[in-house]
Subunit: 346 residues, 2 copies
DNA sequence: GTTAGCACTCACCATCTCTGAGTGCTAACA
DNA sequence: TGTTAGCACTCAGAGATGGTGAGTGCTAAC
């Protein structure tokens, strides 16, 4: 059933008042504060309808109404006004983000602090995940006898390294030869391309350094396979500024969840990552039991086809969606810019 | 003034009861639960003395006594019994830590989860800091045109990498030459050794790749200088299991502090890092205003002279010190073992 | 269809009292 | 002289009580 224009206005007023005050909203207050040209009694009738239709609920008989999940959903989809950040907010943001980053890791981990500072909600950032990684380059660096460092650079620009040990003696020039042999043979390949047959061929060509090859290849495969997105969390304590978390049990539930980066990562991966749009999960929509009282707002960032990741915030369902969405969009744009520059795409 | 044997026993009983129950301890209870062969009245007299001496305090007239910071300090220094972990605890710990770690980063970040799981308190781990780093090896890896990866391996086994861009064209073999030239010239040097004069000499020898050299050298210097210890935090939500943090303001203070890794790092660096011993800061001893209601227990780990770092926990002043100390010792030993193996010192 | 009026509900707050754990002091005991 | 029993006193915390006010739903009039 369609909502009448009047019902929409009232619903919007209720959601916005509730977001602002965290207090159940009564008909009188709406009549007074928003001049809709309606009396409290009329609004009361409409509110009763809205409640029946599932958009509102009552904490108890003699309190005002609060939006239900459905109410928020409708608000977010159809009523929410675009919020424009103030000049101060924008310039503050620019200033914060306008520093020299030089490591991918650095940007990503600091961006979570930026987000939480701007939105006043806990922020989560997923480290970029490579779509379908291919090897760009593999290097071996001897660091002491029988111990080397393998550095793998992938398509997506992700760099990984690991220390390996092996049993055969090898000198500097030999390891360079091995290194470029491996690199040449693996360059451009995806995990699927590195078949046992191909490895076998390489193995035979390697002669005495076959053992070394095996270790390196298994590490490379691991790098390509890696799907686990690292997650950074910033400003988690911000959640405590919201009265819905002054109940210590609620707070504990939240922080326990956030303690596990794995949990958070899983939750993030449940959010759509298809589009340029911002996705919002309200309350139980996230499908995560212990987050049923929180909402999650996530933006996807990507640099060309290479990097892909998410930034977002977690807050109470009673969240300032309009403001959060605008802020996230803004930060996301800026982030993509920075990453793009870092990836050398000017 | 020396404490009589009897006062010591009573103080110990009070501290331990208070740690166990979080309730102020009354004379009657001590008389009943610990058979010291004394009546409640006698204990009362002694308690009055202990209070006068500063070891105990009263939340209010008709409550029992709780230990003051001085009381905890005396307990920790002189009364605390060694706690032996149970067989279950030990085997659980062994099992948790007995997995294949392969990146330094991985061990360090997971160890914080282990610590918090074992102790039930929030855990902090400082990523190893190099004492006085020297360059072991510098490598340049071309990843696309005019873009390379610099990998620096130091003495301490720390590996860092950064993407750099430069304006001159260079091919694979040339960059290898540049790479080994730089590496040879910097190997074994500390930050102090890399003087402008020396860099100038290298610069002249480099010819057209001088610009590249400058970028690389400045990154190397940064790697050597880096003093900032990364910090990992695990199980922060555990703090909420302690009744002293059911006050939301206390909780917020704690989490705000923990939100900033920098804060935590600074606090850790205030703890002594001289010895093999575990150091304990009780309440305001930490010198950090917002942590005045918490205690910090830290163990130093090191692998030879190379790696140096800290693991520890943060909890309420009413903390099970005995248990925490033993657990940390145990975990620390195990960690050193793992790191030692990883660093190839078998 | 809208609104004024009114009875009713109920969380919240302040106030009060009661209870019990704990203290300090005194006097008796070993 | 140190220890203990006894007792009056204190005070936080838990309930009980009642008043207040914001809010509702319903009815009747506009």
């Amino acid at each position: 059933m369609e909502l009448s224009q009047r019902k929409r206005m009232i619903l919007q007023a209720i959601v916005e008042d509730y977001i602002a005050t965290a207090e159940p909203v009564g008909s009188r207050n709406i009549a007074k504060n928003h001049d809709l040209g309606l009396s409290a009694a009329t609004i009361r009738n409409e509110m009763a309808d809205l409640e029946e239709m599932g958009y509102l609920e009552k904490p108890h008989t003699s309190a005002g109404r609060i939006p239900s999940e459905l109410g928020y959903r409708f608000y977010v989809d159809s009523l929410m006004q675009r919020y424009s950040l103030t000049v101060d907010e924008i310039s503050g943001l620019q200033r914060t983000m306008d520093r020299k980053y030089d490591q991918l890791e650095g940007v990503i981990s600091e961006i979570s602090d930026v987000i939480s500072k701007v939105t006043k909600y806990p922020a989560v950032v997923a480290f970029p995940k490579e779509k379908k990684g291919r090897v760009r380059s593999v290097r071996l660096i001897l660091i002491e006898e029988r111990m080397a460092l393998v550095v793998v650079v992938t398509d997506a620009g992700v760099v990984k390294n690991r220390r390996i040990r092996f049993s055969s003696d090898i000198d500097y020039s030999a390891i360079d030869a091995v290194s470029s042999f491996i690199s040449k043979n693996l360059a451009g390949l995806s995990a699927a391309d590195i078949t046992p047959a191909r490895v076998m061929l390489m193995y035979e060509a390697m002669g005495e350094y076959g053992e070394l090859l095996k270790i390196v290849v298994s590490f490379v495969l691991e790098c390509l396979k890696e799907d686990y997105a690292r997650v950074y969390i910033g400003g988690a304590s911000n959640i405590l500024n919201n009265p819905e978390f002054s109940d210590i049990d609620k707070a504990r539930e939240f922080f326990s969840f956030m303690d596990s980066r794995e949990n958070v990562g899983k939750m993030l991966s449940l959010m759509g990552d298809d589009s340029d749009n911002i996705s919002i999960k309200i309350g139980s929509e996230s499908g995560v039991e212990s987050m049923k009282d929180t909402s999650i707002v996530v933006a996807n960032y990507h640099v060309g086809d290479k990097l892909r990741g998410k930034i977002g915030i977690i807050g109470p369902t009673r969240m300032d969606y309009a403001r959060v969405v605008s802020s996230l969009e803004m930060i996301n744009d800026r982030l993509v810019e920075i990453l793009g520059r870092m990836m050398g795409q000017e």
